[in-house]
């Protein structure tokens, strides 16, 4: 976009039609697009990262699978089958690890986006631009989703080959629909985290805390029935839980059940609306709180 400029000879001030006609908006999609492109351009400069993020999570999740094998023997256990309804716990876990990559990304990348801008020294210039902050976050979230999709697919392919598991390829369409809804819900979740990080600053500890609690509540290497009853309710509030359960069902059984898929979609829509509302409110509160104390650029 080119912005025509008018230079007043007497004052030397620079004005633009954009600034003159500017009215505060809830969302600026063009700014989101520009920001996403900027982030993608930086990401493409480091192509090895895409591959590394496809391999590194394997080192984190493989111990769980190896532990299951050490306790129950290779592949299956009667108790696990009774609890989850699935035979093979390796197949059960790997697809969930794939879906969980999006959660991890939303916490570590999007939630921490402004913190990384702060480290780069670009946070304050960004915050004086006349665009809604949420559009900056949406842009960051979009570019991270693209990067994550690539890395998560690499992870799924490598894990499937290493552990010898297969999934129903025919279910790709409903899986993509469910994944997209989950990603939208996660955007709201990451806005919430971004607001918290603006307030608390120290990203490593807060992010670790949120990341680990989310991991415990997510039914990745165990079915949700394995959690204590109170934790099960909390688990449903994590945007990925419903998605993991639905996607796993689709990918492993290869059966599409319209009623249960519709129910899961309704629940995801509720989560999307809920998390976007809470996320935007929390982020705005965090932003105002930080601005009032003048600690925006502080470490």
């Amino acid at each position: 976009m080119t912005i025509p400029k008018v230079v007043h000879e007497d004052s030397g001030a620079v004005e633009s039609i954009y600034l003159r006609s500017f009215k505060p908006r809830l969302m600026d999609w063009q700014a989101a697009q520009v920001f996403a492109m900027k982030n993608l351009r930086i990401a493409i400069r480091y192509p090895a990262n895409f591959l590394i993020w496809g391999i590194l999570p394997l080192l984190w999740y493989a111990p769980y699978i190896l532990m299951m094998i050490a306790i129950a023997g290779p592949g299956t256990s009667q108790h696990f089958t009774e609890l989850s309804g699935f035979q093979d716990f390796v197949t059960f876990s790997i697809i969930a690890v794939f879906v969980y990559q999006y959660v991890d990304k939303s916490i570590w990348s999007v939630g921490n986006n402004f913190r990384w801008e702060q480290f780069s020294g670009t946070l304050e210039p960004l915050f004086v631009t006349p665009v809604p902050r949420i559009s900056i976050l949406v842009g960051a979230a979009f570019s991270d989703t693209l990067q994550c999709t690539f890395s998560a697919c690499v992870l799924l392919v490598i894990s499937s080959m290493l552990f010898g598991v297969t999934y129903a390829f025919t279910m790709v369409a409903p899986i993509v629909v469910m994944l997209t809804m989950m990603v939208f819900a996660l955007y709201g979740f990451s806005f919430l985290i971004a607001g918290l990080i603006l307030v608390f600053k120290d990203p490593s500890v807060l992010t670790e805390l949120i990341s680990n609690i989310t991991y415990v509540l997510s039914p990745i290497t165990y079915p949700i029935q394995a959690l204590p009853s109170a934790a099960r309710y909390a688990a449903v509030l994590v945007p990925s839980t419903v998605a993991i359960i639905t996607i796993r069902e689709l990918a492993i059984t290869g059966l599409f059940e319209p009623i249960s898929f519709f129910q899961a979609s309704i629940l995801m829509l509720v989560l999307i609306i809920g998390f976007w509302t809470i996320g935007i409110l929390a982020f705005r509160w965090g932003e105002n709180w930080t601005k009032e104390r003048g600690s925006m650029g502080g470490f």
């Binding site: 590194l56 111990p63 190896l66 094998i69 306790i71 696990f80 805390l209 394995a226």
Partner: protein, 291 residues
């Protein structure tokens, strides 16, 4: 009287010997504690971290085992009690990560704070900065081990053999020497690559993957079993758990101690030499304060 004639200055320049280095390392360790404790969230994380790592493993184990006993594990590792096996094994994770990341990134942390060059101009040994950080991380990670084991005993019915506590601490002391070698190597990566966290993540996660913390190494693919046998973390985890589960009746003590001593010598010498040459190289290049 000029500063150079002052008693503090004279004392500083005449300082020498191991005692002075230990005092400097202790001061560095206390300094890191002060910084960490000034962030309330860090304190909270420090307390809950051992549980948050252990709980998913416990739930996963329960989901596949269905009870607190596992016949498969008994065949592989000689114990039915998988909860105790995993609780003791994984209690070292926090200590290992603390030593690798905390110590390995000690110079980088000072660099970010803008104090690295100042510290490098003090008359303490160059490696004392890394040793001081190790001392802190030993306390930090050690407290984490105690917290996790205490919680496992109180909440999950894990039982430890009290006669094995002292020998287990001896094993930790042996393990630290080898792990300090790895920490020196990580420091070199950080000094050369500046960020280098991805390489460090691969090394740390790789070592944790091949260590028998939550499973015996017999479940690993054969090639990884060879790698596992060459890691000091493997022998220290086995011996630490062996002593805490079986007390003085632990059978594999001689093999574990011999393997640990050999690996300690190799890892420590290699790490210390790498650090010595890298630190000199970086200073010669004038890249110490580069980001």
């Amino acid at each position: 009287m000029t500063y150079q004639e002052s008693e503090a200055y004279q004392r500083m320049w005449t300082r020498k010997g191991l005692r002075s280095e230990i005092r400097a390392a202790w001061a560095i360790s206390l300094n890191i504690w002060k910084i960490e404790l000034s962030y309330p969230l860090s304190v909270l994380w420090f307390i809950v971290m051992p549980f948050l790592w252990f709980i998913p493993m416990l739930i996963t184990g329960s989901a596949v085992a269905g009870s607190s006993e596992s016949i498969v594990l008994n065949d592989l590792a000689g114990t039915l009690d998988w909860v105790t096996y995993i609780a003791i094994g994984t209690s070292i994770i926090g200590l290992t990560i603390s030593l690798m990341w905390g110590t390995g990134f000690s110079l980088r942390r000072e660099q970010n704070a803008g104090t690295l060059e100042t510290l490098m101009t003090t008359p303490m040994g160059r490696s004392t900065l890394v040793w001081g950080s190790m001392l802190h991380n030993l306390q930090h990670g050690g407290l984490g081990v105690i917290l996790q084991l205490a919680a496992a005993i109180l909440l999950f019915g894990v039982s430890l053999n009290v006669w094995g506590i002292l020998p287990a601490l001896g094993i930790i002391a042996l393990a630290i020497i080898g792990l300090q070698g790895v920490a020196f190597a990580i420091t070199c990566i950080v000094l050369l690559a500046k960020q280098g966290w991805m390489i460090v993540e691969f090394i740390t996660s790789g070592l944790l993957l091949v260590a028998p913390m939550a499973y015996p190494i017999s479940v690993l693919p054969p090639i990884l079993q060879y790698v596992s046998n060459a890691s000091p973390l493997t022998w220290s985890t086995e011996a630490f758990r062996g002593f805490l589960m079986n007390g003085l009746a632990y059978q594999g003590v001689a093999q574990a101690v011999v393997a640990l001593v050999i690996l300690d010598i190799i890892f420590f010498l290699a790490g210390a030499l790498m650090f010595r040459y890298t630190e000199r190289y970086v200073r010669r290049k004038g890249a110490l304060e580069q980001f």
